[in-house]
């Protein structure tokens, strides 16, 4: 599908302009990467619902809207970002506005020797080798048009590096705030995290809309975990209710590494979130837990792919969806077990709560198993609020609306309560609780 229409032309024009503007400011390898991705973007074109991977998710509104590359972020006041960032407490903060790094909004405390947490662009100077070795390696742009598009605009982003054995207790919060100011704009946030062997860290990626703007976020995050590394990842999607969000998280796990991700998706009018994890060394463990909640005409689509490439790895996927009004949801969880990945232990569960007659969920597990001696299980449920529980709550004086709200919150809380760090767990809990409150369809994410 090469005929990708005037919008693709627009992207091409924007790309040429972008390359002209930044000519000579980035390393040669990065320019080559951008060029290769740009070419691939033009070849692939945007998917239609005839593509199996996009069957239930129609990107036409994104294709038809002439999103312009976001200008350098309007200088937003610290106070505007405060509610989205201060909850993390004593942690480190990397702030981006419209995809551009904002040193004045960031809070970079002294980090231990050897640790890097900062702007990707700044890191090009001293860590070019590290970036070159990893950027574009995990998130494959060959077969994913939105990853290709993101990579074609690659210049800025967040870069986090942990040397071997480094343990960082305080979480690192990376906030991508968008503020379109009445002009439909697109940004391509990029995050690269390289965690050395036996290192430990906690990162939160947060996507927030500051106003009820129409914009498009096309994010890519790459995580590379060395042997025995332990990494806690969190993803908060609170884009504006008019926004489009497409995000790809690509993880490469070394031997005996542990990756845990908790996600909460409550914002945007359209969300397509993908997770691709490759268990590339023996004994790795990958846990993905996500809650997605949608109402009104929101569409949320979760696509996961966990690939067991080596023996004795464990993967757990636990996703819960809450869909109200005319919202639609998609959960597509794929587990791939390669031929020599024996003793694989993979489980996948997807539970959905439909709060209205009109809400729709498409849920499909996809298992591709090429090895013997593996344990792979999957299960999906779709249900309504339990009438017995509703009655029990009402019999204690709680009215129907509150009972529904409490039960909806409880449904999501079962996953959120598994978050290890108190502050992060409390924040997720609070956001879900706010979402579940009766006025959720009118309120802006904040």
């Amino acid at each position: 599908m090469k005929d990708i229409g005037p919008v693709a032309d627009l992207y091409r024009t924007e790309l040429s302009r972008f390359e002209r503007e930044i000519a000579g400011t980035t390393p040669a390898w990065m320019q080559q990467l951008r060029q290769a991705a740009g070419t691939r973007f033009a070849d692939l074109g945007f998917p239609t619902t005839h593509h199996e991977e996009w069957r239930h998710t129609d990107v036409t509104p994104i294709v038809k809207t002439p999103f312009l590359t976001a200008k350098r972020g309007p200088d937003i006041a610290k106070a505007e970002l405060e509610p989205m960032a201060s909850w993390v407490g004593a942690g480190h903060l990397l702030a981006f506005v419209n995809g551009r790094f904002s040193p004045s909004l960031s809070l970079l405390k002294r980090l231990p020797e050897g640790v890097i947490a900062g702007s990707l662009e700044d890191s090009c100077v001293v860590s070019s080798g590290l970036l070159e070795a990893h950027l574009g390696q995990q998130a494959q742009y060959d077969d994913h048009v939105f990853v290709a598009l993101n990579t074609a605009f690659l210049k800025e982003g967040a870069f986090i590096y942990l040397p071997p054995k480094m343990v960082i207790e305080e979480p690192i919060l990376v906030v991508f705030a968008s503020c379109a100011n009445g002009e439909a704009t697109v940004s391509h946030p990029r995050v690269l995290i390289v965690a050395g062997s036996s290192s430990r860290a906690t990162v939160i990626e947060s996507y927030v809309g500051l106003k009820d703007d129409l914009y498009f976020t096309n994010a890519v995050t790459e995580v590379v975990l060395g042997e025995e590394a332990v990494f806690d990842h969190h993803l908060l999607q609170q884009e504006s209710r008019a926004a489009y969000h497409i995000g790809t998280l690509a993880v490469h796990q070394g031997r005996n590494s542990t990756f845990t991700s908790h996600s909460l998706a409550i914002g945007s009018t359209f969300d397509r979130s993908e997770v691709h994890a490759l268990l590339a060394g023996e004994g790795g463990s990958c846990t993905l837990r996500g809650v997605y909640a949608a109402t009104g005409r929101q569409h949320v689509d979760i696509h996961t792919r966990i690939e067991h490439a080596k023996p004795s790895c464990t993967s757990r996927q636990l996703y819960r969806g809450i869909l109200d009004k005319q919202a639609t949801g998609v959960f597509n969880g794929r587990i791939v077990v390669r031929a020599d990945a024996h003793k694989t232990d993979a489980r996948q569960t997807n539970n959905n709560l439909l709060l209205s007659e009109d809400a729709v969920i498409h849920t499909a597990p996809q298992l591709e198993i090429f090895a013997d001696d593996v344990k792979c299980t999957h299960g999906a449920t779709v249900g309504q609020l339990d009438r017995d529980v509703l009655f029990y709550l009402r019999s204690r004086g709680i009215d129907l609306e509150d009972a529904r709200r409490l039960m909806t919150h409880a449904f999501g809380s079962e996953l959120i309560r598994l978050i290890a760090q108190d502050r992060i767990r409390n924040r997720f809990t609070e956001l879900l609780s706010r979402w579940a409150s009766p006025s959720h369809s009118e309120s802006l994410p904040a």
């Binding site: 009655f391 029990y392 009402r394 009972a403 409880a410």
Partner: protein
């Protein structure tokens, strides 16, 4: 004589298209403790559910007056706010909601209705600790999801704990003794007795007289085939223990095989 809290007149109730209560009459006044005894399928739980307002239990004839008001038109939450409390025979599990969250939501709703301020976190916890001690409930267990993975005894104690929180005018205890060993029964009975007050009425629904040894009622009624066939004082329980329910069955009250099945 105090005013009646509950007045049931000629109540007929059907569930799943079948008539279960067939002309029940009962009056309960403030300060009184009544017990309704009866074999399986006599309509005991149906009475509990229709009083609490569970869906699927249709009053086809008769009236229920609660403090003079028509109870049957009130939604379940309104009944609870007005002081009616049902301790469930089979307490419901609520995954994802801790007992503390549940208690706090219920307590504050009811306090708000009664014009009282919501309790803050500190006062609430202090109250929880005090009440939990009374019922020998481990405070840790209050941080677990409501009834999920609780033993039968823990579930029943949790019901009584809720009752102490919600300060009801009329407490209905549906088979609260079932599934309890003797120690748990004594604890639960102690909790119930501590709640006896001149301005509060209780209705104990039970198959056996076991509970009635520890919570001694003022009146006992025998429910058979959807009607009260005998009423008396506390000594009636002993008669039931000795003779069972068979002697009460006239041709009119005979329980069919089908209805007697559990």
């Amino acid at each position: 004589m105090p005013d009646p809290i509950l007045q049931i007149s000629d109540l007929h109730v059907a569930t799943a298209g079948k008539e279960i209560l067939r002309g029940l009459n009962l009056t309960i006044r403030a300060g009184e403790v009544h017990a309704i005894m009866g074999p399986n399928a006599s309509g005991k739980s149906t009475l509990a559910y229709v009083l609490a307002g569970r869906e699927g239990y249709q009053a086809t004839a008769g009236t229920i007056r609660y403090e003079g008001k028509d109870l049957l038109i009130m939604p379940p939450e309104a009944r609870a706010r007005e002081g009616l409390f049902l301790a469930f025979q089979y307490p419901i599990e609520i995954p994802g909601m801790t007992t503390l969250q549940f208690l706090k939501a219920a307590l504050n709703t009811i306090r708000k209705h009664r014009g009282l301020e919501e309790l803050d976190a500190i006062d609430f916890l202090a109250l929880v600790k005090e009440r939990a001690q009374l019922l020998d409930v481990d405070v840790d267990f209050l941080n677990r999801p409501v009834n999920a993975g609780f033993s039968g005894g823990e579930k029943k104690r949790n019901e009584i704990l809720q009752m102490t929180f919600l300060d009801p005018k009329l407490a209905i205890l549906d088979e609260t003794d079932s599934g309890l060993d003797i120690d748990a029964l004594k604890i639960v009975a102690g909790g119930v007795n501590a709640l006896r007050r001149p301005d509060r009425a209780m209705l104990l629904i039970t198959h056996y007289q076991r509970l009635l040894k520890f919570v001694v009622p003022d009146y006992i009624h025998i429910l058979l085939n959807g009607r009260i066939v005998q009423s008396g004082g506390k000594e009636l329980a002993l008669t039931v223990e000795e003779r069972g329910y068979g002697w009460l069955e006239g041709p009119d009250t005979r329980i069919s095989e089908e209805k007697a099945a559990p």
